[in-house]
Amino acid sequence: MNAPLLEVRDLYKHFAVPQGFGRAPLVLRAVDGVSFDLQRGGTLGLVGESGCGKSTLARLVVRLTEPTSGSIRVGGEDALVLRGAALRHWRRRVQIVFQDPYGSLNPRLTAGAAIREVLEVHGIARGGAAAERTNALLEQVGLSVVQGRAHPHELSGGQRQRVGIARALAAEPEILVLDEPVSALDVSIQAQILNLLRDLQARLGLTLLFISHDLRVVRLLCQRVDVMYLGRIVESGPALEVFKSPRHPYTRALLQAVPRPVPGARPAAAVTGEPPSPIHIPPGCRFHPRCALRVPGCDVAVPELVEWGPRHRAACVRAGEGGGPPPPFSAPGSQPRLDA
């Protein structure tokens, strides 16, 4: 197997939450020991609910936030030691597209100017060459030259997201980090952007880190998926395999909760309560207070990611048990429950 293009090892990001004068700050453990590999040309989906640390992880990978500890390597090169010009040059290799196509564009620049800015900052092209390259990038993301003269407020959400993607592509990156790139868009427009990403990946050989809370999209777009809960990866494996036979009770609960377009198929509330705050992380397995399968000891020992199938790992002491609940979407109409 080739060396992975992106290697993340034991990454931690803790934020201090001030508590006022004379009181010690609390520690918010946003990313709490995450490791993963991403092969060149591969697509890794990172799923989890709000507050699980997936957006912080995205920002760490592109070095918009400095980690508390851990390592990030791109093509074998340690990304965390880079400073100044070397860091600026490195940034071309790893680009990010944000969730909010409204907030991530400068309202005073036209779409074309926003793309050209990237070309000039990175010294990729200037003058006439930059204009030509900008038009090519607009075309690549399905926008016309006329739309390139529009300001963000004159564009729809989907068109703005295309501009965001064109800006990221302008730097000619190897890795594209996509932080919830379609969640602000309508469902008919989502599909347009997902198809665009898939085409671009095939054409340009891009490596994608796709962050989303929407399991339906991740399953169809990604080869591999990592499921995050409260700052840690609880399950990792080939996407179709994880969705077909989830090992971790949290993954199962997430899958069961996904609404299905089948009349009468009710999303099953397979877990109670909501994720606790990343300031007060439960001891032992951090999912145990919500878990229907917990056994004595789950509140003490922290489960490690263990291999249960080919490249399929889960961090649960009961992940290996056979005869667990069937996959949640095996038979439309039936509603298997973890506690059934």
Partner: protein, 334 residues
Amino acid sequence: MTRPLLEVDALQVRFMTELGPAHAVDGVSFQLDAGEILGLVGESGCGKSVTARAILRLVEPAGAIVGGDVRFEGRSLLGLTPAELRAVRGKQIGMVFQDPVASLNPVLTCGDQLREVLKAHHTCTAAEAQERAIQLLRRVRLPDPERQAGSYPHQLSGGMCQRVALALALAGEPRLLIADEPTTALDVTVQAQLCELLLELQAETGLAILLISHDLGLVAGLAHRVAILYAGRIVEYAPTARIFSAPQHPYTRGLLRALPAIDAEPGVFAAIPGTVPHPAALPAYCRFHARCAERIARCEHEDPVRRAIGPEHDVACHVDLDPAPVAGRPGGGP
């Protein structure tokens, strides 16, 4: 035949925008029976929230209801005086909004807010209001209601805030609940809990629910009937099972195909080309024709009239589509 609980009849709502008048809602009609859940589905800008708000006349004065009627238990709500309208809002028709945190008062505890609403609706003593408030919080399955009644909204999670907002909407014991994207801001596991709660309330109390959502998957599990809205008009209206097994309007079919199913085979995502038109710049005649793969010449110079094509199944389209299901769905088949 009993009278429907809510009748919306050719409702028209207009806003003035920079681009000129916008007909956000343009002749929307539907009915809701007691105890029924109706899903109102569409993309952003299709007029679903405006329709919901117009029922309680919450669009005024920014927008104006310029035509049609809204009748609740046979009585028109559009001619009511402000005092009469106050007696309907909350007491007969409750409403929950998308953003649970923004719909609560940040400087009052949950208990205070509930007591305030209870006193507005009923004559009751402080002790009775307190007891009722705890009961309501228990009914929306808020954990530890006695303690949480003393919490401020910022101390609660999004899902808990939405439960409190639901308790507030139910405080006046309404017969109809308008739920405008009630779970969109919530995580998927919490969304499933809220859906269970809505179904329980509907089953226990015979509450009718107008469920506004962009998510056909969510509506499939909750609603008895579905109305699909596009650019201010209902393009298809049918029992939920029909919408999913035999969708007729090209837009409904497109929406169903675009919805990634959790058990679909990986492949190309089915997109609908183009974008939703701005309400102030609507295409003439069939508003979907520019994005429609099935369009014929007639679509560009004649308004499609909503017509019945089956029992309780209406569609507004010129094209006589094959009645066979087309959506790439389980039970649909590509």
